[in-house]
Subunit: 294 residues, 2 copies
């Protein structure tokens, strides 16, 4: 069990991690790669105080080195779901399950907007995690839309459960699919429902009829990552302490809204970390008190 | 006329200044000295991402160098009052008046708490600025309480206007006072009023009867700096954009509340700067539009 799990690998995530370590908490960063932050592509940054005139990649490297020196650990993976388990969380890291006491979301700007009807059908035919929801589609027809090769693993997993799996890759090349997976190169347009029941995926080449659609995305809409998370449009709602509406879940950086800037992200990462540490310590004291009473 | 005046010389102030310059605004930092930030005394800082394991003074020097390189100007002085003048502000910088379009308050933690009855009597016998309010006490008796030698200038100025000036220095040594100023070394305890009228200063050695009391403080309570500024206890209330309740007045860093940390201050300084720039640009567009209609 780790104390704090941080989702994302940019400045907000690294700042949060450094600050958790300073307070002696165990912390792990979950990121698809350390080059996925928008900062990585910035040619020149001149408004992060103390480090003038730096390339984005160089600045990100410095943040990472600082985090590594501080004892932060990293796991390179995509997070598809975070489940609240009462006094801790279960994080689905590509089907390896990691437990953590608190979560800091530093997922950046959510870029893939989703297609028409997608958001409305989450949990009603639309899913982002085959391992979690695959069994609901035993003996049924599903479509998997993959923004990257992780979609192939989803499709192959579903191929053992479902009668028909159609795979719509949005990238090249497709590496490995089981024989009974049908590949269709097209552009998804909308989720089709009839009386609230999902019946198909509309594409520019016609409707693929199915009972469920799985999306494997480069970035997940934050409210599909944790059920019940309060968002406003694409941004996660936080208070001044960077706490979200869910206990022990915090957010920092671009995912909380504009300005999309490094110093703002680093500052919010620090505040989120210190709030998480404060709340964990308070909970621990409460638990110790309750135990001494019994 | 400068675009943005920044009050304070710590990390929040320097970050705000760097970010204003990046958006091509003219900016001046007003600070009593660049060694007055709490950061200056920090032995070691290890949680500002990218610059691990630094002395506080070294880190502050780096921020200052960055600001100087960016074209930020500095004025070493104490600010006693900021007056809103409609479309700009008038800043009293030790009796030199500077005009600015927007204000960013980065005044740090306000340490001197004030004595009993002081806050209630602001503007009703208690003042922080002899130049501003001295004339109201022509022919009357006043006490000046000085936390530093700037109190002497206040007392000497009042000595030409008032019939009696008592000077209570809270520091050593007193350098120069006019002959008709009486020095009294004591500890101020309370502002004495009768039916809402100030009648004296209670000290540990008895009450000094007077009509007005001037305080020369190391740090000003932020709401005495600008009339009508909304505070909660010692902290300035801001929204997510770091805007205060007053138009074109922003705040950042320790003066907005805990955690009292560098990254948080730097992040807020950036957000305050970008909000100020955005609002100034919007106002300029509005003004241009109004002009083109006429």
């Amino acid at each position: 069990m780790i104390d704090v799990a941080i989702i994302g690998g940019g400045p907000a995530a690294l700042s949060a991690a450094i600050n958790c370590r300073r307070r002696n908490k165990t912390v792990k960063i979950f990121a698809r790669g350390l080059d996925t932050s928008m900062l990585f592509t910035a040619e020149k940054v001149d408004n992060y105080p103390g480090l003038p005139d730096m390339g984005g990649e160089e600045l990100l490297n410095r943040f990472q080195q600082h985090a590594i020196q501080s004892g932060v650990t990293f796991q390179r993976c995509r997070i598809s779901q975070i489940l609240p388990m009462g006094d801790h969380f279960m994080i689905n890291a590509e089907n390896e399950f990691v437990e953590a006491r608190a979560i800091i979301l530093a997922t950046g700007i959510h870029k893939s907007r989703g297609i028409q009807g997608e958001a409305e059908a989450i949990g009603k035919g639309v899913s982002y995690c085959a391992t979690c929801d695959g069994m609901l589609y035993r003996g049924k027809k599903v479509v998997v839309v993959g923004e990257n090769e992780e979609g192939e693993a989803e499709a192959n997993f579903l191929a053992d459960i479902c009668t028909e799996v159609t795979y719509v890759p949005l990238y090249e090349p497709v590496l490995y699919l089981k024989e009974n997976v049908t590949v269709m190169r097209t552009k998804p347009l909308a989720v089709v429902t009839e009386n609230g029941v999902l019946t198909g995926l509309e594409t520019k080449d016609g409707v693929i009829s199915c009972d469920g659609i799985f999306f494997a995305k480069n970035s997940m809409p934050p409210d599909s990552l944790i059920y019940g998370l309060k968002t406003e449009g694409a941004q996660i709602v936080t208070d001044k302490r960077m706490a979200t509406n869910l206990p022990f879940v915090y957010a920092a950086g671009d995912c909380t809204g504009a300005p999309y800037q490094i110093a703002k992200a680093v500052g919010e990462g620090q505040v989120a970390a210190l709030s998480a540490v404060q709340d964990l310590d308070a909970a621990q004291r409460e638990a110790a008190k309750a135990e001494s009473v019994n």
